[in-house]
Symmetry: C2
């Protein structure tokens, strides 16, 4: 057995365990932030729940804000994947955009998304429109709208502005649904009204 193999085994094992610990910290943080809120979540309890101490946390994430950023990045990745899947399943670009928006609204039913991404995140990390994930999501919407405009499906309109407003309307609908006593019923009303308003962008045929 060569020494290189041994070396690789050692480093790989070390890195593997470190990555596992990192994941456990993020998972514990997700649960704590979602259930208690960012401000009320204690780093001591959080790390203890993951079987570690604050030392690991500050070594890997810098500070509490860095941990929240990592949690949000993970959540954002999961949301992006689901949005892309919803869009890919649609027969054309416009219905893909609508499916994506409706999927976004549904996601806000998840308490983790609601509390971490919609309430605490903006207060701690600032305006969400500056987050990497949001920028990427917006870029996709802009690309879709550009294609729709080139195809003459939608009216001539400021593409970026329209993309942002669509996202914002979906976000508001999401918050409304999340706060409702009967989310299912409100979800239908919200998605229907969203479609109606979005169709304001469609070119008259």
């Amino acid at each position: 057995m060569s020494t290189e193999k041994i070396k690789r085994d050692g480093t790989a094992r070390r890195a593997e365990r470190a990555a596992a610990n990192r994941d456990r910290l993020i998972a514990a943080a997700r649960a704590a932030f979602a259930s208690q809120g960012y401000a009320a979540a204690s780093m001591d309890e959080l790390t203890a729940a993951a079987g570690l101490t604050r030392g690991a946390l500050y070594h890997g994430f810098g500070d509490k804000k860095g941990l929240l950023a990592a949690v949000i990045a993970q959540l954002d990745g999961e949301m992006s994947a689901r949005l892309a899947a919803a869009r890919a399943a649609a027969p054309d670009a416009w219905s893909g955009l609508m499916a994506e928006s409706v999927a976004y609204i549904r996601m806000a039913l998840d308490p983790e998304v609601q509390r971490i991404m919609l309430l605490d995140g903006p207060a701690v990390l600032g305006n969400p429109s500056t987050w990497p994930g949001e920028q990427a999501c917006l870029a996709v919407t802009i690309a879709t709208l550009s294609q729709l405009h080139a195809d003459g499906v939608i009216k001539p309109v400021d593409i970026e502005a329209a993309a942002r407003l669509l996202n914002g309307a979906a976000l508001t609908a999401a918050l409304w649904v999340a706060a409702a006593e009967e989310p299912a019923a409100v979800l239908d009303r919200a998605t229907l009204a969203f479609r109606t308003m979005a169709e304001g962008l469609l070119a008259p045929r």
Copy 2:
């Protein structure tokens, strides 16, 4: 001079001074929350800037969250007044609704509104759609849309849902404008796109 007059003078003066101190605390909190953010604002510095101590604060507002609620109530009142003025100056209901929305977007240029109402407020007090001021604002929008629907100006659509989506789109536009390097230019693009999208609600004539 009757004893009653003396009594009333005493109580009046006491209440007057207490109310003044309350206003000074709210004003100091507005400045501190807007410039440093809710979490970073220290109650000691805050009250010292108002010439008082934390005792006055806890006596009058219960806790830090109560102080933020009072600040938000004051901001909300000022915003409602400006929105009502914008609506009243318009020639008809639809343009009143548009004027109101545009006025709302412009208000987000105010750092106090942006930081306190849009970022920290939701994190501390929860979903804004449950705040009294928002509920009142929404009720006005719903009334306007109901009238427009009765007059046949807008399509048949879920009134409450449409009102919420319009408000949400305006809010998003506001955040976009607030984060832009050149707010003036973005403001025009945002308002124009907002009008285009809102016109999706108008009935074909």
